[in-house]
Amino acid sequence: MKPITRAALAAVVAAAFCGAAWAQAKSAADGIAEYRKMLEDGNPAELFEAKGEDLWKKKRGPKNASLEQCDLGKGPGVVKGAFVELPRFFADTGKVQDLETRLVHCMATLQGLDAAEIAKTRFGQGEMANVTALATWVASMSRGMKFNLSQAHAEERRSYEIGKRVFFFRGGTHDFSCAACHSADGQRIRLQDLPNLTKNPGDGIGFAAWPAYRVSNGEMWSMQLRLNDCYRQQRFPYPGFGSEITVALGTYMGVNAKGAESIAPAIKR
């Protein structure tokens, strides 16, 4: 026992000395940056990408069909580049849809699955977990590409304007809005940087980083879940999965992110 006690003491003393010098050279923010860098190699999102790719190609549902004919906006079966142009207007549904609502639409029309049932399912469970895995894979196919949402259709412009209003909507017990935390540069909650989502926050930040693997709970988070939990923390009531305001927020943030390089699926705290 003795050697360890003495050695441990020596280590503590040494650490204290190094610590003092170190603290001046390196802030907590730098330390966090180092931590994030270490996690980049070996992002468990890869496990979900693989699952999503399988789900895309597998024949499933009452119609025993794959999703390979799903039109994510660039034509049936075109996956590469689709993510960085969503949400967008789809003529066949007459609506602006984000990645997840479009995937559910394809699961319903091509595979015969029940869209309403999926929308009601909890995140991380059953077919909802499959939607998240599919979204993770679809996003990964546009990694490194730049966001370029269309504003050509009147509905796309309307979606942006609605999204902007929703973004600034204050309410709940704490008077929070999305804007309360995400409309200024260089701010953070605890040690987490807050992207300014009212303008282009830069490459791989904000909208250009989700879906992401959350290390805090070891789950894959899609954009719909990201928004859902933002609203939970805002102390708002529960936003419906794929509801119009969630899609409109996607349009607002996505258009604002124009030109930003996608790093999705990322890894986050």
Binding site: I162, H174, D175
Partner: protein, 215 residues
């Protein structure tokens, strides 16, 4: 004169129409649509009911990236100031140890919280503020509160000279909108997020000369 006015009015009307064709719904229409979609998109979950979307004057006025008019801002501040409940028995202070615990906690009032009772709630303080320097993980949305009392010259919280700062701090915690109409800080007392006793503890954390914040 009348004719000329009519002509201008007609031209203006035509311009509005043209603009309407080119850009889709008007600003007012979009405002209305957004509000309707907010109501349609949310549902009750646990303690978080849809009535949380019913905005009061300040919430509605501060839901935009535009500046709030001076007149509206003043109304919000005055209403907030009038809403403040001063502590029973003039007792403003608790203990800073509990204050630190409340400041650290970001819990409460979400749809995953079982009840809205204040004892379940935290103050979320470190989410936005530096407070005790020992805590490395602090937010920067609000100003640093390190040495909050010391910088304001508080050596004895009961001294008459301390009264203005003590009262201001209580009011800020109870209803932050009393001093800034569109403050991002929650109205802890007014919205029943924290109770009087919890606010006393935070008061001690910030103002007590013995609190680690004022070393």
């Amino acid at each position: 004169m009348n004719t000329r006015f009519a002509l201008i009015a007609a031209a203006a009307g035509a311009a509005v129409l043209l603009a309407g064709c080119a850009t889709g719904p008007s600003k007012a229409e979009l405002d209305q649509q957004a509000m309707a979609l907010m109501k349609a998109s949310f549902r009750d979950q646990g303690i978080a009911k849809v009535d949380r979307l019913n905005q009061d004057l300040g919430q509605a006025a501060c839901s935009t990236d535009a500046e709030v008019s001076d007149e509206v801002a003043e109304r919000i501040r005055n209403e907030a100031l009038a809403s403040i409940r001063w502590p029973a028995g003039g007792q403003y202070f608790g203990n800073w140890i509990d204050g630190e615990r409340i400041a650290q906690s970001g819990r409460g009032m979400t749809w995953t919280d079982a009840s809205a009772e204040t004892r379940n709630n935290g103050g979320n303080c470190y989410n936005c503020h530096q407070i005790d320097k020992k805590e490395l993980s602090y937010g920067t949305i609000g100003p640093s509160l390190w040495n909050y009392g010391k910088l304001r010259g508080i050596t004895d919280v009961t001294a008459p000279t301390a009264a203005p700062i003590v009262q201001y701090t209580w009011a800020k915690l109870w209803n932050s909108k009393a001093y800034a109409a569109c403050s991002n800080m929650p109205r802890f007392g007014h919205m029943k997020v924290l109770d009087e006793q919890q606010i006393r503890h935070i008061m001690s954390l910030l103002l007590d000369p013995r609190s680690p914040v004022n070393q």
